[in-house]
Point group: C2
Chain length 262, copies 2
């Protein structure tokens, strides 16, 4: 399919590579900055553009892969004058209705992964969640998603909101736990890489056990002595301490719920 | 070395397997319950015992691998009458001084990993942190650790306290984030395994990037609209909501600190 890629950030870059690999034709790459547009155009093919007025009408699908907060600004300018094309955004937290009244055929293709420009992820293994406003858009978006990934699921805007929230916990909050861990180690002269085997095993375990069944540590039994003394060790950082306390209570409650259910 | 293993839980089981593999002689396995002692004795070798009074004097090293909270109860009964032997505990959060006045040669061997009985981890890759009260104990414990793992580090009780706290964040709290994520998905009819590629990639990323540099998502920029609406989605679960809020604020503060430092 002939596609135009709006955006040149982490997601757009990985999407550009995947589109190329799947045999699609990226005819243009739009970014506000010339350097970013050119860089991605070199990778994915097509011409770089920095003005939405210069976006071509000669494409089948327009894929918006910009920051969630900017999508609302891009949509009107992008859709205007080409209302019959198919428009897609790729954001977990933005409703499909952002296109309402702006275009005829539209939808969402949300690839749930954490992207960085440098590290190439295998797009084929990324779960992609699709939604469309009509049959034409659905056929196009579903085919496109199927050409990029082995795992495509239909999901409503409302479900996707919760999926995105679940991803915030499993990715952003998990990464912040790594951050706090790294900070504690740094202050005590211990290299962060000693933590990697534990990090890997913790992630690996939930491939075979439910997270609730994989839980260990002092908070499960709410071991007051350890919890109080560990909270005290964070007294210089009230934000870390607050995380420590809310996590410990929530882990203990989850363990009690599990016990009562068994 | 001739060893006695005190405990038959997850850690003791994995330790027993590793001792056997490294060519050590496990002469006894102690557990309060007959079934547990027998089960591990079958795996690691040696005789099962359920009374600390029946523990043999004919061993070089006594390894305590019971719950952190029980170590203080086990030590006096175990050390009495065999003060010249080498005693080791394996807990991250318990000071070496738990042996003070009870034995002459003692120390700590803390293998930092999350263990379950069923899944066999490769002990050789587990970072082991050792501490000893004198040269004799150090030689024995350091050699023992070196025979089990490729990565042995000397660490004081005070450093180990912080290491353990860092591990609580990187393992227990991370796993609780997985738990919350699974719970949100379950309530919305989405299978948890769609989250696994994101979980794996989030863990993989910190092998090459510092966690602070790997962070993404709405909290980095403190995107108020998304944060407020996501917090609202957790209104039925005040504990999850509290985690959401304290995490989001802390992520934002970390991102600002990073920006100011650059």
């Amino acid at each position: 399919m002939k596609t135009v890629l709006i955006g040149a950030g982490n997601l757009a870059t990985n999407l550009g590579r995947a589109l190329l690999k799947a045999g699609h034709d990226v005819v243009q790459v739009y970014s506000r900055t010339e350097a970013s547009a050119s860089e991605l155009a070199t990778i994915a093919g097509g011409a770089p553009v920095t003005d939405l007025n210069d976006v071509t009408n000669d494409a089948d699908v327009y894929i918006i892969a910009v920051k969630d907060s900017v999508i609302g600004d891009v949509v009107p300018a992008l859709c205007k004058g080409r209302e019959c094309k198919v428009f897609i955004h790729t954001a977990g937290s933005v409703p499909m209705s952002v296109f309402e009244g702006m275009a005829l055929h539209y939808g969402v293709l949300y690839p749930m992964q954490t992207f960085s420009k440098a590290s190439k992820v295998d797009f084929g293994t990324i779960p992609c969640f699709v939604e469309a406003n009509d049959d034409l858009a659905f056929t196009v978006i579903n085919n496109l998603a199927g050409s990029l990934s082995e795992r495509v699921m239909l999901l409503s805007t409302e479900q996707r909101r919760f999926l995105h929230l679940a991803a915030v916990f499993a990715c952003n909050f998990v990464n912040h736990c790594y951050e706090v861990s790294a900070e504690i180690l740094r202050k005590n002269g211990i290299p962060f890489d000693v933590m990697l085997p534990l990090i890997d095993e913790t992630a690996r375990k939930v491939h075979e056990l439910k997270p609730i069944d994989a839980q260990t540590g002092p908070a499960v039994r709410y071991d007051q002595n350890i919890i109080r003394s560990q909270a005290d060790m964070l007294k210089d950082n009230p934000l870390f301490r607050q995380i420590y306390e809310s996590m410990s209570i929530s882990i203990h409650h989850a363990a009690m719920r599990k016990e009562n259910a068994e």
